[in-house]
């Protein structure tokens, strides 16, 4: 009998395994995954608002740009990725709408959703692999990806021609004045108003109109066992809230021209105020919060006030029917010098440069804007359109929500365009501001002061040093 040496045995096993794997891969070489969402409808709805625009995408789908796509035969496949919307019905509406749009335009549409927290990792992987989705929606302006995406200047020009002016928030979140590039398109944004327990504030005789009101009421409310719920931790809601406080006190990271201006007395004033707010009106739990913690505090019945999108109130309406009528919505609080607040969600679509379906993707975005009245309603007023004329009556619609108690609970959203600004305000959003946000530099500065780990001067000096380095890096790269 022939004897195998150890080396021969390993060689046989390795080659057998490799052959098996290769054979298996070959069997899967042409996967035909079913698109997410419902079945493709065979007939578009008669009252589709996109009817007027329908002829164009059909023609474009057959244009040489798309037809030249290698390895494709038959209809174009448009792949879209966005977050799982907090209103499940919105995703159902969207997934059904994209299938109707696809059927009408001879495009197979794949609509994928992921958890919002996983968007950065997925984006990094797609850019690294240079493959993935044609349309990719971020929840935050993706300035750092400007060199990886298709400029959308022509799309914005077309939409502006059709719908008139957009909210300044769109331009300041998606446009780079230095390079003259629209690197993303934000179909909607979500306001970040004050959500507060009206019954509790009534008990202390206050309304949360200014930051000073919140501090004064908070002192008493904390004694009653109902603290204020503004985070001081490395997470997005804290990042938004701290910027809102800074703007209220008349300070910001950069000025309108992109110069770093954070080192000024107003910042120290904002830091001192935040320290008071934390120590006198909050509990230490806010130091360990994640993005959903403030929602939980409010719906637990214990929290008196949070800064959040209306998702927290909608959750209360569906799961806490006794509590929901006690929650009211107010404009972002005014500081001594201004009343400005972050948007809670910036739904920024980009088209990756590797996408073979650029024209189809742009047409999709145009038709999505045309369908925005339905989108706005499906989102339960969460998605505020970037082009106000796309949903001309949205500010009237929020005045009366039959499911809300009272029905005008959401009326204050109509004023949100006046006090909602972009990250990076009063300048444009840019890659440096995005990195500063992602690295929680402002959060850390406020937290160190609030907890007494550093004096306001030291914390500011440390933050400024980091911010200057980050701005220099991105200026050297030509994006600021």
């Amino acid at each position: 009998m022939r004897r195998f040496t150890r080396r021969q045995l390993l060689a046989v096993l390795s080659s057998s395994a490799a052959a098996g794997l290769l054979a298996s891969c070959a069997g899967q070489a042409t996967p035909t995954p079913a698109p997410a969402g419902g079945a493709t409808p065979t007939k578009p709805p008669a009252s589709s608002p996109t009817a007027a625009a329908a002829a164009t995408p059909t023609a474009r789908a057959a244009s040489p740009t798309v037809a030249a796509t290698p390895t494709r035969s038959g209809p174009v496949t448009l792949k879209i990725l966005q977050w799982s919307h907090f209103v499940p019905d919105y995703d159902k509406w969207f997934d059904q709408w994209v299938q109707e749009w696809g059927a009408k335009n001879n495009v197979q549409v794949v609509s994928d959703h992921i958890n919002y927290a996983d968007i950065p990792a997925r984006a990094a992987a797609e850019v690294s692999a240079q493959s993935g989705h044609d349309l990719f929606a971020f929840g935050f302006p993706p300035s750092q990806y400007e060199t990886e995406v298709v400029p959308l200047n022509d799309l914005i020009a077309d939409l502006k021609k059709q719908y008139g002016d957009y909210y300044p928030l769109l331009e300041r979140s998606c446009y780079n004045p230095k390079t003259d590039v629209w690197y993303s398109f934000m179909d909607f944004w979500a306001a970040d108003p004050i959500l507060y327990r009206k019954d509790l504030f009534d008990q202390v005789g206050k309304t949360p109109d200014t930051w000073q009101d919140i501090l004064e009421a908070g002192r008493q409310l904390k004694q009653m066992g109902n603290p204020i719920g503004i985070g001081f931790s490395p997470e997005i809601d804290t990042g938004m809230a701290m910027r809102t406080i800074m703007w209220g006190f008349g300070t910001s990271i950069q000025d309108a021209n992109g110069n770093v201006v954070i080192n000024k007395p107003e910042t120290l004033e904002a830091l001192q105020f935040a320290k008071q707010l934390f120590q006198e009106a909050e509990t230490e739990e806010v130091l360990a919060w994640d993005a959903s913690s403030n929602n939980r505090l409010l719906v637990s019945g214990r929290g008196a006030l949070i800064l959040n999108a209306i998702s927290a109130v909608r959750t209360a309406e569906s799961t806490y029917p006794d509590l929901a009528p006690k929650i009211a919505i107010a404009k972002t609080a005014a500081g001594p010098r201004d009343r400005k607040g972050c948007a809670h969600w910036y739904n920024c679509f980009v088209i990756w440069k590797f996408s073979p379906n650029v024209d189809v993707a742009k047409q999709f975005l145009k038709d999505l804007v045309a369908a925005y009245t339905d989108a706005f309603k499906a989102s339960k007023f969460y998605n505020i359109p970037s082009f106000p004329k796309a949903v001309p009556d949205w500010q009237q619609l929020v005045q009366n929500d039959p499911n809300a108690n009272p029905p005008d609970k959401y009326a204050v959203l109509a004023t949100a365009p006046d006090w909602t600004v972009n990250v990076g305000w009063p300048g444009y959003m840019n890659a440096a501001e995005a990195e500063i946000f992602d690295r929680w530099i402002i959060n850390d500065m406020f937290t160190k002061v609030a907890t007494g780990q550093a004096s306001p001067e030291d914390a500011l000096a440390e933050a400024e040093r980091q911010i200057q380095d980050i701005f220099k890096k991105w200026k050297d790269r030509g994006l600021i």
Binding site: L10, H85, A125, A312
Partner: protein, 283 residues
Amino acid sequence: MTAMPDTRRLLLRALLVAVLAIFLAQALFPFAWMAITAFKRDSDLYNPTNNPFLFNEPPTLAHFRLLFTETKFPRWVVNTAWVGLATVLITLVLSLPAGYALARLRGRLGQNLGIAVFLTYLIPPTLLFLPLSQIVSGIGLQDNTWSLVLTYPSLAVPFVSWLLMGFFRSLPQELEEAALVDGATRFTAFWRVLLPLAVPGILTAVIFTFTLAVNEFIYALTFVSISDLKTVSVGVPTDLIRGDVFFWGAIMASALVVSLPVALLYNAFLDRFVEGLTAGALR
């Protein structure tokens, strides 16, 4: 004279029971919490005045209904099972001969090779997912569960090879030498003599690899985005965590459904599992 030892024995026994009770409570608490939450009504679950450990209202199957009818959970379970089993198979095919070879390679070469294999286990997936995504895309496996089946063994093979190496070392070499003297080939000796003795080690490898494949997140997130092809670890957070809103009841129901079979598997082979993990350590 006998009273003292009895008292001491009783005290020791009480201490043992107390320590075991602490470990038991620690091990069972997650399951109890999952089960309670999964069957609680939302109105009960989210009422802060209610005792969270008790059913203050009658139990409900609503969260399971949501899980099985409003999401693609059954499909995700099937995908997870397929990916897990295929990963186990590939890992065993690669690790059994690797572990055996490392166990029998005496001297510095064998030691160094063993350490080198184990060191690759220390490289975290968070460092590897970007370069691997290029490879996955390059071979056309993006949005295909085969991308997971082929990459997960890179996480499991180093540890399993190391584990099996220790296990094979604990088996007397004289057994296979006797088989070789009787005319068996090296492969026959390995297949017929060593493998039946290595069942505890193999079971340990199977459970470890399957659990790893079920739990893995970052590769599953970045290589597969089509809803129908997702595994449980990505599908559940996608559909049941929406923005800052968590569907706790359904999340706990999904965790319960997925973790129970694995827990039962552990339980069924617990003695073998312990034997497999500790065999190499005793040598």
